[in-house]
């Protein structure tokens, strides 16, 4: 106890300039630290009040090392506070309470005295980071939430926190959770003794008053201590750290105790984190249990996949689907393989509609250019011609650029036409605009093609196939139009049949 008294008087006489060197020397003073632990454990000690006062002075001083010196006692202080409140021996814990609240009130403000707001950015894979590019992450599920967060990284905030003058049953764990958050953000600087104290505290808080207590040696204390799930999660964070930093065995036992309590309280949050720790730990058990402190280990791992090539995985299924689609594609898609799935979905859908259109178009009179080449052939035959045409394209190589060009052009036209036709809901006029716009766009496409195509012999075919893809692209926007004019669909149909054969394509996709 003499050490403690010396320590109490020494700091008061300390000149301002030597604070930092003094702080550095404190941590090595093991006899002082253990003496302080003893004082804190003893609720009726006369020294408790001056010690708490001094620890608060350290915290208020602002020197990082002094702050850490105080913070290392946090688990022990919390245990004393909780055990005393559970027995309702209010008077003896007054100074510990004041110290904890003091630390809390200092931690919730920044240097200038403004309330701190902590922010945390949830990374999103759809946004490029220093470690990845969105396009290289192939299989992003297109869920609603994924889409709504596309390209945005979500930022969550904590704070501002209220100043607290007293502990109440309501704010107790709010304050303690925040204090453990502070403790956890300084974990690397906490000595082993503090980690041990944390493990002991957590175990006792979690099991005292429960039948499990009697398997342990905590005989001195027997009432249950309430605890909040958030606080348990913070405790688990510290326990997880202790596991890999020298306190493997102790921390594993503590983990079990925390899990036991979480099960009985039916708290999903600590159960989640605790189960995850326990499950990930069981692979490491042999490696770490006998090791020295700071035992994070890494080994050389083989870079080749451990999974045999022919097992079905998400990736292989994806490739599978691709191979099937490639058969109906117009052009080689090899290089698109590693573009993201968003593209994949788009392309495959486009090609699917291709088939639907071509087979649906057989019953209706085809366009002029189409009629020349296709006449009255069946859908199957027509598919075959597209097939042939595709082979042509592949062999020739050059028309690919043209066809891309054409697609671009038709997309451009598309936006134009849809914007023209949308604001006119009247049935007759709508039908007209749709049809005229349609035939127009085809003329345009045909024109461009005739000008650009090097092989005029197959121009009809190319125009044909291009038109299909153009239609499938238009599909989306036109579906909107047809929805609007739902009741007039029959008249539209009639009109279309009369006016322009190309409209059949649109209708067949609609079906």
């Amino acid at each position: 106890m003499l050490v403690v008294e010396e320590w109490l008087s020494e700091f008061k006489t300390l000149p301002e300039s030597s604070v930092s060197s003094y702080a550095a020397s404190l941590n090595d003073n093991h006899s002082l630290v253990s003496a302080l632990y003893q004082v804190i454990c003893e609720p009726h000690s006369e020294l408790l009040e001056p010690v708490c006062h001094q620890l608060f002075e350290f915290y208020r001083n602002g020197d990082v090392l002094l702050r850490r010196f105080t913070l290392q006692f946090l688990p022990e202080l919390v245990w004393c506070y909780l055990s005393v409140t559970a027995t309702r021996d209010v008077h003896s814990s007054g100074c510990i309470e004041a110290l904890l609240l003091g630390i809390y009130n200092l931690e919730i403000v920044d240097k200038d005295g403004h309330n701190k707001v902590l922010s945390f950015t949830i990374p999103s894979l759809s946004k490029p980071s220093i470690y990845h590019e969105p396009s290289s992450i192939g299989s992003m599920a297109l869920t609603e939430s994924a889409l709504s967060q596309h390209g945005l990284s979500k930022v969550v905030h904590s704070g501002p926190h209220d100043q607290r003058e007293t502990f109440t049953a309501q704010n107790r764990f709010e304050v303690l959770t925040f204090l453990f958050l502070c403790y956890n953000s300084n974990l690397n600087c906490m000595p082993r003794l503090s980690l041990q104290s944390l493990c002991h505290m957590s175990s006792r808080v979690c099991v005292s008053g429960y039948p499990r207590q009697f398997q342990k040696n905590y005989k001195d204390f027997s009432s249950r201590i309430p605890v909040s799930p958030e606080c348990m999660v913070q405790i688990l964070t510290a326990v997880y750290y202790a596991m890999y930093n020298g306190e493997w065995d102790l921390a594993c036992k503590t983990l079990d105790d925390v899990l036991y309590r979480a099960q009985l309280e039916m708290f999903p949050e600590p159960l989640l984190v605790g189960n995850a720790i326990k499950n990930s730990v069981c692979f490491d058990a042999v490696k770490y249990s006998k090791e020295a402190p700071r035992c994070i280990q890494v080994e050389i791992t083989p870079t080749s996949s451990r999974i045999s090539r022919n097992a079905v995985t998400s990736l292989s299924i994806r490739g599978h689907r691709w191979k099937r689609n490639e058969a109906t594609e117009l052009k080689p898609q090899e290089e698109l393989m590693d573009i993201s799935e968003v593209d994949e979905g788009f392309c495959s859908r486009a090609s699917n509609t291709n088939i639907a259109i071509s087979s649906g178009g057989n019953k209706t009179p085809a366009g002029k250019s189409q009629r020349k080449s296709l006449g009255g052939r069946s859908g199957r035959e027509k598919e075959m011609t597209t097939e042939i045409c595709r082979e042509h394209l592949v062999r020739k190589q050059t028309p690919r650029a043209t066809s891309e060009n054409l697609e671009l052009l038709s997309i451009k036209r598309l936006t134009l036409t849809s914007s023209q036709s949308l604001p006119k809901p009247g049935n007759q006029s709508l039908a007209n605009t749709v049809t005229t716009v349609f035939s127009k766009s085809f003329e345009q496409v045909g024109g461009v093609l005739a000008a650009n195509s090097p092989a005029s012999a197959i121009s009809g075919n190319i125009g044909d196939s291009n038109r299909f893809s153009a239609c499938s692209l238009q599909d989306d926007k036109l579906a909107l139009v047809s929805d609007r004019a739902d009741s007039h669909i029959s008249t539209v149909q009639q009109h279309k049949q009369q006016r322009s054969p190309s409209c059949n394509i649109h209708l067949s996709t609609d079906m």
Binding site: L118, P123, Q170, T177, S185, V298, I300
Partner: protein, 875 residues
């Protein structure tokens, strides 16, 4: 392809030389060929006899001798180009390493001067040779260091050099892989692809793998976390190639592990910053010398861009890394379940499950359970019958507040692990609490009580759950017989729970509550005292104690208890509501109104801190979760959240608190009573600034009527509308106090506030009816009551008032019918019995009337100020 091409070039070169009789060129070409032959044979040999770490290579020496023959032949006479001489030497050094002749290899490396070799504009394969050379050099140095006994200083220097070699080897290896992929891609683009010429996965081989990974392994072995993390980041920042995907996945996971297990916010530095000079992360016993920056002329390409995301905190970085490895683990997970792939499936499952566990740890720290449940859902496609991930998925759904799905997933978990009592307990907690599926909850709870051999504390919880399910069912039941038998069952279950676990305050408390509901006040008082001894500051026990005291008509004691409870739970609205009732009973309406005002202030400070646009759970750090929890869990408003009435709720919070403050002022300003002005003024000052004055009240009404039209859509019970229900409830309480002191205008203003929030609430309609009654408009009152009943047909207080009004209108038989229905619903409502007696008396049925009056008298003696059932019953 490339080999063939160069081969043909070589052929034409030979042809040219022979054509033009350039005989002096021929030996040079042949040497080049023998160099190739030597390299090929060495590589072939290594492929057949792969080198294992920590073991010297074994294999037929014959082939190796051949390798040496070819290489020395290539080097033999001088006329080889410089770069080929270098290459031949490097391959020879590698050969020496394979043979175990480390110093010979090192001498060759110093002869070549590796550091001076060109990296720019060299063929891709030379990058590989150089990467391997650096790695081999590192290996040789390490081998020599093992055997030597030099001073520590020299040893340190030596280690530095070893690490430098490995880091260079790693960097060049990454560059090599990037270049090969680039070349391959351009090849694919320029040629029409041949069927089946898909990318063959390249194997790195021992030397490149060592070069890529040995540096950080040494760092971590020496306890130098700072440098190890730095090296990890360098590897990860390099643009990925197909060959490095697996390596990246492993390294990303390992770095995440280190960030979560060994680092904290204070010791973190972000990947674009320089690492700190002194860090608590590093083992202090190991001296940390500053490494010279590596002199490499060409670095691997890294991810760059203007607005790329760079984490600022260790959990952020861990999360980013884990999301990346999750996407890879998910993609590589084996889906097929045929027996041949079983071991593959298990391997992939295990690696995925490690990633998901780390993800859980990281997201749990920040309270992001919603996101966690989405991540775990992605794992479901390959976790058929895998208990751990299913259970984690269920827990994450529960933590994210998705109760319905959580119960479904928990049911599957029970099937997978039928002997774990926690799972059915969790399910029944959800059923009894947010879902209000009482029969389901009962079934789950009985699963626990049937596990006879389990530890008593779990079975006690099971009985508690059974009891709660019965107790809540009893409250919902409309038939008195059913009600009574359910109450009896509930009581039995609570008694079992209490005897199994006598130290559990919840068991004692619910036993007491159940006794109180069946009006056994003295017994209930005994158990509630027991509960309070076990847990002195439990809010529900204190509340129950106050209500029990009020049932014994000790109103002042009850108020004192409530005040005591409020000193521990100052923001608990249910306590405050009871306080209002008690105060208007024993301290007068002024006190009660002050409490209402206080409640409005608390409401403001509780919910105005948070931005309404992101209110809701899971959208912020853990403290928000705490705040929401604290307020939402404690507020159960039975009047508002009757299970059968369907909760009215504002669908949008777009109006926000400022608007409601505004309407509040609008509606209160015409009131000339001093207290009301006071109330509104304090509200004004509490809100600070009212910036919405330009927004017309009509717009609010419009928004809210839109809300009203969408009320029928089912809303989650614990959603962000809870604060608004509380606010409405506060206003209704204030209205009730005003009605009590006979001030209809003020009461109407308060009701209007509530009506703005919930226009179709039966409570609002009921209060309107009361105001109408106060004003003497009996007919109007009757209309309001009928409307209220059409929304909530079992609202006993409305039925009672309607009966009274009908009585006043002289429609005795209808009044009797309504009151009899009310008694059926709640047989302990003494006002109803009293009114029924009056009606019967007016009808001349004096005998029955006497019975009713006696019942009323008896019930009144044990009636609390508010029904016991407002105390929330949850597990």
């Amino acid at each position: 392809m490339a080999a063939k091409k160069s081969g043909s070039r070589l052929e034409t070169e030979i042809e040219r030389c022979r054509n033009e009789c350039l005989w002096e060129r021929i030996p040079e070409l042949i040497k080049q060929l023998s160099l190739l032959l030597g390299e090929a044979k060495l590589e072939h040999y290594l492929k057949e006899n792969p080198i294992k770490p920590d073991s010297s290579p074994q294999g037929p020496r014959m082939k190796l001798i051949e390798v040496k023959k070819h290489l020395t032949a290539a080097l033999d006479r001088g006329n080889l180009k410089l770069e080929f001489i270098q290459e031949a030497n490097l391959i020879l050094a590698k050969f020496h390493y394979v043979e175990g002749d480390y110093s010979e290899a090192l001498s060759l490396y110093s002869k070549v001067v590796l550091d001076n070799m060109q990296l720019m504009a060299v063929p891709v394969y030379r990058l590989r040779i150089m990467a391997e050379a650096y790695a081999t050099k590192g290996l040789c140095l390490e081998k020599l260091l093992e055997g030597s006994s030099r001073s520590t200083e020299q040893q340190l220097e030596q280690e530095q050099e070893i690490i430098a070699c490995y880091e260079k080897a790693g960097d060049i290896a990454l560059l090599y892989l990037q270049e090969t992929e680039r070349v391959l891609n351009t090849n694919i683009q320029n040629r029409s692809p041949k069927p089946g010429s898909s990318f063959q996965e390249q194997e790195l081989g021992f030397f490149l793998e060592t070069g890529l990974q040995r540096a950080h392994v040494i760092y971590f072995k020496n306890g130098n976390l700072t440098r190890g993390v730095g090296r990890f980041r360098e590897i990860l920042r390099a643009v990925e190639t197909r060959t490095t995907q697996n390596l990246r996945m492993t390294i990303a996971r390992q770095l995440a592990e280190i960030l979560l297990r060994g680092m904290c916010e204070q010791s973190y530095w972000n990947p674009l910053e320089d690492p700190p000079q002194h860090s608590p992360l590093d083992d202090p016993s190991q001296q940390c010398c500053n490494l010279k920056p590596r002199a490499i002329t060409r670095k691997p390409r890294v991810y760059v861009g203007d607005s790329i995301f760079c984490p600022q905190e260790n959990t952020e970085e861990a999360l980013l890394l884990l999301l990346i490895s999750e996407s890879m683990a998910n993609r590589d997970a084996v889906l097929s379940r045929i027996p041949e792939h079983n071991s593959d499936r298990l391997v992939s499952l295990q690696s995925a499950s490690i990633v998901y566990d780390l993800l859980t740890i990281a997201l749990g720290r920040r309270g992001q359970y919603e996101m966690l449940s989405e991540c775990l859902e992605r794992a479901m496609k390959f976790t058929f019958e895998e208990f751990h991930l299913w259970y984690q998925f269920a827990l994450s759904l529960m933590a994210a507040g998705k109760s319905t799905r959580a119960v479904r997933v928990l049911r599957e978990c029970i099937r997978l692990k039928p002997d774990d009592p926690t799972i059915p307990l969790l399910a029944s907690k959800l059923c009894i609490g947010p879902l209000h599926w009482l029969e389901e909850g009962e079934r789950f709870a009985e699963m626990v009580t049937d596990m006879s051999e389990k530890a008593s504390e779990f079975r006690a919880k099971g009985y508690l759950a059974v009891g709660l399910a019965y107790s809540l069912q009893a409250t919902d039941a409309t038939l008195r017989g059913v009600q009574e038998s359910l109450q009896k069952k509930a009581l039995g279950a609570f008694q079992r729970a209490h005897s199994l676990s006598p130290t559990d305050h919840l068991a004692a408390f619910y036993l007491s509550l159940q006794l109180a509901i069946s009006r056994q006040i003295p017994e209930a008082l005994g158990y509630v005292r027991q509960a309070l001894q076990l847990q002195g500051d439990d809010v529900n026990s204190l509340h129950l104690l106050a209500l029990l005291l009020s049932a014994q008509k000790h109103y002042h004691d009850a108020v004192n208890i409530i005040d005591m409870a409020l000193s521990e739970y100052p923001e608990n609205f249910i306590l405050l509501f009871t306080k209002v009732k008690l105060e208007s009973m024993c301290r007068g309406p002024d006190e009660a109104l002050l409490t209402c005002k206080h409640m409005l202030q608390i409401w403001k400070s509780c919910y105005n801190l948070t931005n309404p646009s992101d209110s809701g759970r899971g959208s912020s750090l853990l403290d928000r979760v705490i705040a929401d929890r604290r307020n939402l869990n404690t507020i159960t408003l039975p009047d508002f959240s009757d299970p059968e009435t369907g909760n009215p709720a504002p669908a949008s919070l777009a109006s926000g608190p400022s608007l409601s403050t505004y309407t509040l002022l609008q509606s209160l300003s015409p009131v000339d009573v001093d207290k009301d002005v006071d109330l509104s003024l304090t509200f004004l000052s509490a809100s600070g600034s009212i910036h919405a004055t330009s927004i017309a009240a009509s717009r609010v009404e419009q928004a809210l009527s839109e809300v009203a039209s969408s009320l029928q859509s089912s809303m989650p019970r614990q959603g962000p509308m809870h604060p608004w229900m509380t606010l409405a409830q506060i206003w209704l309480h204030a209205a009730e106090v005003y009605i009590g002191i006979g001030k209809p205008a003020e009461a109407t203003a308060c009701i209007q506030e509530a009506a703005n929030l919930f226009p179709t609430s039966h409570n609002v309609l009921f209060m309107r009816g009361q105001v109408a009654e106060l004003r003497g408009n009996i007919e109007e009152a009757k209309r309001w009551y009928e409307e209220a009943l059409s929304i909530s047909p079992t609202h006993v207080r409305t039925m009672q008032r309607l009966g009274l009004v009908l009585h006043q209108l002289g429609r005795y038989s209808l009044a009797e019918k309504v009151l009899r229905d009310a008694v059926q619903v709640n047989s302990t409502a003494h006002e109803v019995w009293n009114n029924l007696g009056e009606v019967l008396q007016a009808q001349g049925n004096h005998h029955a009337a006497t019975e009713c009056f006696l019942t009323a008298l008896e019930l009144e003696a044990s009636s609390p100020v508010v029904p016991f059932t407002i105390i929330p019953r949850t597990l």
